[in-house]
Amino acid sequence: MNLMEFQGKELFARVGIPVPRSQHCHTPDEAASFVAKNPGKWVVKAQVLMGGRGKAGKIKFATTADEARAVTAEIMATPMPPNRQNPNGEPIHSVLVEECLEIDKEAYCAITIDRTSKKPVVMVSRFGGMDIEEVSEKHPESIAKKAIDTAAGFWPFAGRELAFASELDAGFRKQLPAIVGGIYDLFFRYGAKLVEINPLALTKDGRVIASDAKVELDDDGLYKNKEFAEWQKALPLDEDESLATASGLGIRNFRRFPGTVGTMANGAGLAMATMDAVKNANGEIANFLDVGGGANAERVRKCYELVVNHTNAKVFFVNIFGGITRGDEVAKGIVEALNTTTSRKIPLVIRLTGTNEEEGRRILTQAGMTTVATMDEGAARAVELAKA
C-alpha cells in the first residue's frame, strides 16, 4: 500500500523525523481558515499517489487566507492528468497546507529491501529533489548505500558513514544519523517496503527537514497496525487492482493488456509462462490472471466473467497444472462455472494436467470444450481462435 504525503509525514512525526508544520485540508475553506489563523508563507500541495504534481500545477503558494482558498480550489478543480505511471489520472480529494521552507540544500534519503543481501538498505545522495533514477543514471557515484544488520539493529555509525560517503553538505551531517534511525524505525515498526525522503531539506536556518514523504507499506504486514485498514479504504486503487479485489483475487493477481487472448493459470510463474506461450505463438495477450490455489467452480466463474466483461479477450485460455488437486475435480469445476455464468460466451481452450488428467479432459470434451495436452499447443490453438 502506497501512502499519500500527509500520511507518510504523520508516520515521520511519530518516529521523530522532523517535518514541516502543516495542516491536511479537504476543502478550500478549511485551507483558508487555517492560513487565516496562522499567518505566514504556505505551500498548498495536492494529496495524490501519482508523481509529477509540480509539473501538473498541483503545488501552489499562498500567503493570505484568500490565496489559500483560491489555490486550493484551483488544485482540486481538476484531477491529476494521466501519465505513464497512471494512464487514468487521479482525482484530488485533499491538500496539504504546509510551512514554506527556505531551503538551502536538498539531499535524498531512502530505505528499502535488498533481495541479495536480505537486509534493509539505506541510500543517501547529495542530489535531492530529482528522481533517484535520474540521479542513478547521471551521478551513480553520488549514491551511497549501506545495508543494516537486522540482528544488531540501527546504530548511528551507519548514518555517519552515509553522510561522509555521499559527501553531504556538512549542515546535514549531525542530523543524518537520527534521520536514518527514524526511517529504519519506521521501516520495521510500520512494515514499510520503501521510505523515501526526497528532498531532505537543509533550511537556511540550519534545520534538516523531510520536505516530502513517500512510503510504501507491505500489504502482508498491514494487519499489525489496525489504523492502516482505515487508510487503505481511503486510498485509490487503479482499475485493475479494483477489478482484482472485486473478483476475490489478490491485488496483484490480475492485469490487463490490449490483446485478444484471455488467460488464466494457477500460480504466478505458470501464469507468466502462459502469457509467454501466447506471445511465442504470435498472439496478443488480453490479461495476466493467477487464479491461485484451488480452482473451484465459483472461483473459475468469477475469473471467466472478469476476463469476458473487462478485457478485449476473444478467447479464454485456461492453463491448470493440477499438482495435488485431481484433474477430474478441476474439470467439473470448470464445467459448472461455465454453466452457471450469465455472461456472454467466448471460446475456451483448456489445458489440464495433473492427477486424473485423462478423466478431466473427458469431462471437458463431453461439455463441448476444446482441450489440449500441452501449454504450447493450447497457446497456438487460442491464438488461432482469437484471430478467427
Binding site: A110, T112, I113, D114, R115, T116, K118, K119, P120, V121, M123, D131, I132, E133, S136, K145, D149, T150, A151, F187, F188, G191, K193, L194, E196, E216, D218, D220, G221, Y223, K224, R252, R255, F257, A265, N266, G267, A268, G269, L270, M272, A273, M275, D276, A277, V278, K279, N280, I285, F288, F321, G322, G323, I324, T353, G354, T355, T374, M375, D376
Partner: protein, 292 residues
Amino acid sequence: MSIYLDKNSKVIVQGITGGEGSYHTARMLSYGTNVVGGVTPGKGGQKSEHGLPVFDTVKQAVEATGATHTCIFVPPPFAADALFEAHDAGITLAVCITEGLPVHDVLRVVGATPGMQIIGPNCPGLISPGKATIGIMPGHIFKEGNIGVISRSGTLTYEVVDLLTRSGFGQSTCVGIGGDPIIGTVFVDCLRAFANDAQTEAIVLCGEIGGSDEEDAAAFIKEHLAGKPVIAFIGGRNAPPGKSLGHAGAIISGNFGTAQSKIAAFQAAGVPVADRPSEVPRLLAQRLGVTV
C-alpha cells in the same frame, strides 16, 4: 545422494494437527518421508491422526525424536515465531510453506537464524525423488534421476518437471525456493549444494523477472560450476513490470530485474536459456549429448 533431504532425514511438522498440516503430513508419509512427529502447542502427548507423537514445543520434539528437518504449516502471523522456535531448538533445515508472511518478519528471521537453511517462505517445498519430500509438491510427477531442479515458482516447477520426467530425465532433488522478495534459500545456495552432490549431473534453473537472483546465479555458475551443465528458463518475459519493490529497490539491486538482463547474464555464463518450458528437455539432451 541428493541435496538437503534424503530417506533418513528426520522431519517434524509444525502445525501437524491443522487442516493443511495434517493433509500434507499424510502425503509426505505416503511418499516415504521419515516424518517422526509434529508440534501443536497444547496438544502435547496426543497422537496425530497419522499415529505420530504430537509435542507442545519444537524443543520437546527434537529432544524426543532427534529431528533435524521441519515443515511449517502455521498461519502467517505465527510463521516467524515458528521459524525462530525451530532454529532455537537446533533444527538445521526448515521448509516454510506459509504464504503471506510480512516481509519484515522474514528479514528478521533470515538475519538471526545462522546455521539453519530456510526454504521459502511461500514455497512448495523440496523433494528428493524416490527418497523423501517435504512440502506440498505432487510426488507422482517426479522421478528419481540425476537432474537437479531449482525454481522460484510452484506450478511452473511442476510444468518443467513433468516435461523432464516425460522425456526420461529423472531428478536428484527439486527445490521450490519461492518467489517472495526475501527468501531463505536462493539459487546460489542450491547451486553450491548441487555442485557438491555426486548424484546431480546437470541442473535446470527456472527463474523469473524481478530481483537479481538469476544474475547472481549466472555469476556463480561462471565462477564455480564448470563441471555440471545448467539449463535456464526465465518466466515472465511478457509480464507487466513488477510493482512490488519500486525504483529505489531496483537501484539497490543494480538492475531492473528484466528478462533481458537475466538471459544475457546466463548466456554470458554459457548457460543455454530455453524460450519456453517445452524446450528445456531438448536443451538438456543437447548439453548431455543424449537423445530424448
